[in-house]
Symmetry: C2
Subunit: 376 residues, 2 copies
């Protein structure tokens, strides 16, 4: 292995694949490393924690093909601190890797590349491509509702449904709330239909790694794994086995109260109200705020025996009946954080039935369901 590459693009590559490195010490030591291969005029970088795998291809001036695995932690931090000049990387003695820069050099201990697990292979048939920015926006929307409780794996995943090759749906729920987004693809209908569950952690990494620019991402599906490819980067993830909840059944179709409100105003009021309720010892888990929806105003209030009480009033536009209802402020705030329209609507029926939040005039079809908290 022998190649030259400029520090900035090398750093970008190693920082991308580093995201797959796990800090879990139960994994074999080789997985704390970044696989690096020089091949023709490319450098291939890879890392995996066996759940997610990231591969990145960089252009370089290669004079000798070869491969190695370098301990990610020191390697990435070192490359970050190297001067922004051309780096000369080659295999040295005793399996060490030499990085030369200017008149200086560093020799790093390396693992043998043979020990590194191969990334999963995919066939070309089950594939679909869509605009990156739409996929990223959809992931950001729904991932807020995924659970982080790994004792119930299904709820830590995001359902990805493709219907007729031209409608993509993402759904996540932790049983207290649910987020749904659909993206209509500019494609002819086809017989490409699928329904799989992807770990939300993998999808969140994907939304962070890919650039929010105009390009496309191509998705390859297999029985128990999925591959996303864009920007010379391939990200694979295992799938979660099991049956997702029947989300259509959960979402109410009718309502008796519809309230329209400015997103930022509701957000700021809830943040203040949450300050008082989130630490209250008697209801720490609930972070309850009360919404009193009246003709032209909504009263937002919270109370803590320890800290005090708060009452805010914000203007709203009401269709239907007035209603008092309690919610976990954090669940509402999570929704308001991913909606980017000026206004939102909340649909409600009784103080015990779920609330549905939607952006007003959003481009894609998104919907957020939040279960209420009994007030007394």
């Amino acid at each position: 292995m022998k190649f030259s590459i400029d520090q900035a693009s090398f750093l970008e590559g190693v920082q991308i694949v580093q995201r797959a490195i796990s800090t879990k010490s139960v994994l074999p030591p080789i997985l704390s490393g970044i696989y690096m291969e020089s091949k023709d005029q490319n450098i291939i970088l890879k890392a995996t924690d066996l759940e997610i795998g990231i591969e990145c291809v960089l252009s370089a001036n290669v004079s000798e093909n070869g491969s190695t695995v370098l301990p990610a932690r020191y390697f990435v931090e070192l490359v970050k601190k190297l001067p922004n000049i051309e780096l000369h990387i080659e295999e040295g003695d005793n399996g060490q890797i030499r990085i030369g820069y200017g008149k200086s050099e560093v020799m790093l201990n390396a693992f043998s590349a043979d020990e590194f697990p191969p990334l999963q292979q995919f066939e070309e048939k089950n594939m679909l491509s869509l605009p990156k920015d739409k996929l990223i926006a959809a992931i950001r929307n729904v991932s807020i509702a995924a659970s982080s409780d790994y004792t119930r794996p299904i709820f830590t995943g995001i359902l990805l449904e493709i219907t007729d090759g031209n409608l993509l749906k993402l759904v996540a729920t932790d049983t207290h709330r649910l987020a749904y987004t659909e993206v209509r693809l500019d494609k002819e209908p086809s017989d490409f239909n699928t329904s799989i569950i992807i770990p939300s952690k993998s999808l969140i990494e994907i939304s962070r790694i890919f650039n929010m620019d105009e390009g496309e991402v191509t998705i390859y599906l297999d029985k128990n794994k999925i591959l996303f490819e864009a920007d010379h980067i391939k990200i694979t993830s295992r799938l979660i086995e099991g049956k997702f909840v029947n989300y259509k059944q959960v979402i109410p179709e009718e309502f008796t109260t519809r309230v329209r409100v400015l997103r930022k105003e509701l957000n700021d009021s809830l943040e203040r109200a949450s300050l008082l309720s989130r630490d209250d010892l008697s209801k720490r888990k609930h972070n309850t705020v009360k919404l009193s929806i009246q003709e032209e105003v909504m009263d937002i209030s919270s109370k803590s025996s320890q800290i005090g009480e708060l009452e805010e009033m914000i203007p709203v536009f009401l269709e239907g009946k007035t209603l008092d209802i309690g919610f976990n402020a954090r669940y509402l705030l999570d929704v308001l954080r991913v909606i980017d329209t000026e206004e939102i609507v909340i649909d409600l029926t009784t103080e015990l039935s779920p609330g549905i939040l939607r952006p007003v005039d959003g481009q894609d079809q998104s919907l957020f369901l939040v279960l209420p908290i009994r007030l007394s």
Copy 2:
């Protein structure tokens, strides 16, 4: 108590005094609060952890004098989240404090102001004023060498010496290194002479709270306490009792090797070298790098059985003898972080005697001593 004040200036005030709030749970609960008093057209805010005390005076529209103590944690976070409009603050029922903003309001539980300890009083006689920016720069220089080991309190302090009313010296040492700065004041000589030890934590807070602008800071001294006053802010600190080391005796006056080097170049090389040595299990505490000083270059090298080895070469200008010497990279990096000149000089004698680092062409007289580490 009843007053109005705009949110932005109120927030600035509460955030300043909050810095004195300790998270130590051994302190009485009242000290987790911020004392607030409305008096004539001013609001006085105070907080203390009994080691440091901060008082800040704000202008406000006061309609009723009075005082209270509010739990700092919730109070500051709430004020931070309030809209940037006029706040109406007054005493409510049950000793609660009401903060009204627009059509909304919050009622906070409060402590009784009587329980709050009075801040220390100072006499006007022992006082001295000097430019704020000079004091702040001096504190930043020397505080890097103060110890954080509270079992030996003297070394956690900074020696402040005033000679003839016109020369201020600050010194700190943790016994492995020492930092010295002197500031010559544009004043006529007087009989104001003093030598006290101030907790470095207090001085670091002072350097963070006061603005680095053109104003003056006035220092009032008492037997076991000190007061710094500027920008409508008063900061008091207890002093550390005991005898400081005789720093003049420690600083060598002669040397046989003087090397001049670009600060940034040395800094970047040491950062990379430190990456390899800082985690090496056999010498974790030492973080040793080797400097080989030759006629026109300095070789900087480090080695770790675990990670690998590094060797850098940077150009230097040498007067005197060549020398190989080992240092703790962190101690050198701490010095290079606070020196802001383009070049520095290092004075050395043997591989076992201390190195002295100085800025080249710095305005104030600063000097940093670092003990070497035996190489073999």
